[in-house]
Amino acid sequence: MAVERVFDHLRAIATGAKYLFLKPRLTLMYPDEVEDLPRGYRGMITYNHETCISCSLCAMVCPADAIKMYLPKEVPEGEKRPKRYPGINYTRCIFCGFCVSICPTFSLQHSTIHDVSFYTFEEQIFRPEEFAKGPPKPQYDKEPVKVRVIPDEERGLRYERV
């Protein structure tokens, strides 16, 4: 029993020592390396104003009240009932993608952008006009290396330069 315990100690130490000489690091060196996300990643939303039919399903389904229907800033002359268009509030958005899934005209789509920072809360509210311009680009100090994350039998995850 006691001898067995000594071996257990030695085995634990040997296993730890083994890792001193292996190179299986899992760290992704963000922001020097940035994951090249596949299509289908649920990032920030892009909005196509041209195809939007103003059905407001996106606002109705939004679980966080992030999407709301906005009146245009300037109502066109002679329009009795101006159409409302969606705008998004990224302080609330939870990236569930229900709006994208329910949009019948594919006007809302996911981008793969997810790491954007803002200075104020107001900046994160995108009215339809700004929403149509697309999500802001993330700012990096220097251009990051794009890597693809690949499951690997030896290392768990492997990062391959694109």
């Binding site: 634990a12 679980p63 993608g97 994350v149 499951p151 768990g156």
Partner: protein, 398 residues
């Protein structure tokens, strides 16, 4: 039940020290534990819940049925699929919708991937609570490949919102089984190293064996759930007792242990990781072809969305989903999540919102174990027992 009437036994002469562990404490989580210590011995301990209470049940009453899916995921972030699935099962019973077989298998697949990474989360936290930073880093690192798989499947790392009434939101990518197999082989190999460095480490065993013993009859009496119940020798698992999704077709074992101590609870989790890998392999092998969205809702899609769904196997919601109405009635569903059984009970009066929404999470049912197990143990055993319960305060507080 006199044993719970007065668990705090304030001494007259001020001999006992009242120790407030948390909420600002390295190992308390989002809760406070009120411990009374006599020297190094804990006389009694009461958890003080509610620090992160958000009243999910009340919010659900003003949310529409589909909007509740992300809401129920929020309380237990490490184990979102269980809550998502339990809610959708209850909702489907209310709506009378049956998802197609392939969707059932995809649900099972995600649930098991989630179970593995939820268990790694629990193992990691348990490790750092008894002082092994390596167990923590390893477990959290090895969680990453699984989260990556889930991300490929659903598009999100943690909050999947993948399971919707009538099916799932998208099919798996074509090369997915290959990637899963690679990750599973990696985890298998790594579990051997865990075994050598952590599980059989004499210090770990000294800290966990015989600590916080939960007897079988106490576990049943107190309604404990999940791996904590099975570690006390009760072979109850919802996947076997009341099978849902693809589990009736899958061959797997319910891991139980008789000891009921912290080590047993830890080992049940390790055993369940191995069983989950077995289940995932079977699911991928037996995965039937066919639709992933119920016929009832598919018919409601306009032609261009139908075409999109056929081409990309990505479900577009029919417009009715924005204002889904459930018939009056009530339904209850339970699901075996990583931490235990999630029970969801919906009372509907036929509107767009549930009339009463009830979610009982495993952590809330296990919270009683703090005062039951942490008595006449040493101060150092508080984190050892806490960690072994895989208790997650936001999940208990909801």
């Amino acid at each position: 039940m006199s044993e719970f009437v007065e668990t705090i036994s304030r001494s007259e002469d001020g001999r006992f020290l009242e120790l407030l562990i948390g909420p600002q404490h390295p190992a308390s989580g989002h809760m406070r534990l009120v411990a009374e210590v006599d020297g190094d011995v804990v006389v009694s301990l009461r958890p003080n819940l509610g620090y992160v209470h958000r009243s999910v049940e009340k919010i659900a009453e003003v949310k529409k049925f589909l909007q509740i899916i992300p809401l129920v995921e929020r309380p237990s972030l490490a184990d979102t699929t269980a809550n998502n699935l339990a809610y959708v099962l209850a909702l489907e019973r209310l709506l009378g919708v049956e998802p197609p077989p392939r969707a059932q298998y995809l649900r099972t697949l995600l649930a098991e991937i989630n179970r593995i990474h939820s268990h790694f989360y629990g193992i990691g936290i348990h490790g750092v609570m008894i002082g092994s930073s390596t167990a923590f880093m390893w477990a959290f690192g090895d969680r990453e490949p699984l989260i990556h798989l889930a991300q490929e499947l659903t598009g999100a790392r943690i909050t999947y919102s993948y399971i919707i009434p009538g099916g799932v939101r998208r099919d798996m990518p074509p090369d997915f089984p290959d990637k899963v197999e690679k990750v599973l082989r990696y985890i298998e190999r790594r579990l051997e190293d865990y075994d050598k460095l952590y599980v059989r480490n004499p210090v770990v065993r000294a800290r966990l064996e015989g600590v916080g013993v939960l007897k079988k009859e106490d576990a049943i009496r107190l309604g404990i759930t999940g791996p904590n119940l099975r570690a006390s020798g009760v072979p109850y698992d919802v996947r076997k007792a009341d099978p849902y999704c693809a589990y009736p077709d899958i061959d797997f074992n319910v891991i139980t242990r008789e000891e009921g101590d912290a080590m047993a609870r830890f080992l049940v989790r390790v055993g369940e990781i191995r069983e989950s890998m077995k289940i995932i392999r079977q699911v991928l092998k037996k995965m039937p072809d066919g639709p992933i969205f119920a016929e009832k809702y598919y018919k409601m899609l306009p032609p261009n969305l139908k075409k999109y769904y056929e081409e990309t196997k990505e479900v577009k919601f029919p417009g009715i989903f924005a204002n889904l109405r459930a018939p009056a009635g009530e339904s209850v569903a339970r699901v075996e999540g990583g931490r235990g059984e999630v029970v969801i009970y919906i009372v509907s009066k036929g509107g767009m919102n549930p009339y009463r929404f009830r979610i009982v999470t495993p952590s809330f049912r296990n919270a009683v174990l703090f005062e039951h197990l942490v008595r006449n143990v040493r101060v150092a055993d508080i984190p050892a027992i806490y960690g072994s319960l895989d208790y997650f305060p936001p999940e208990a507080d909801r």
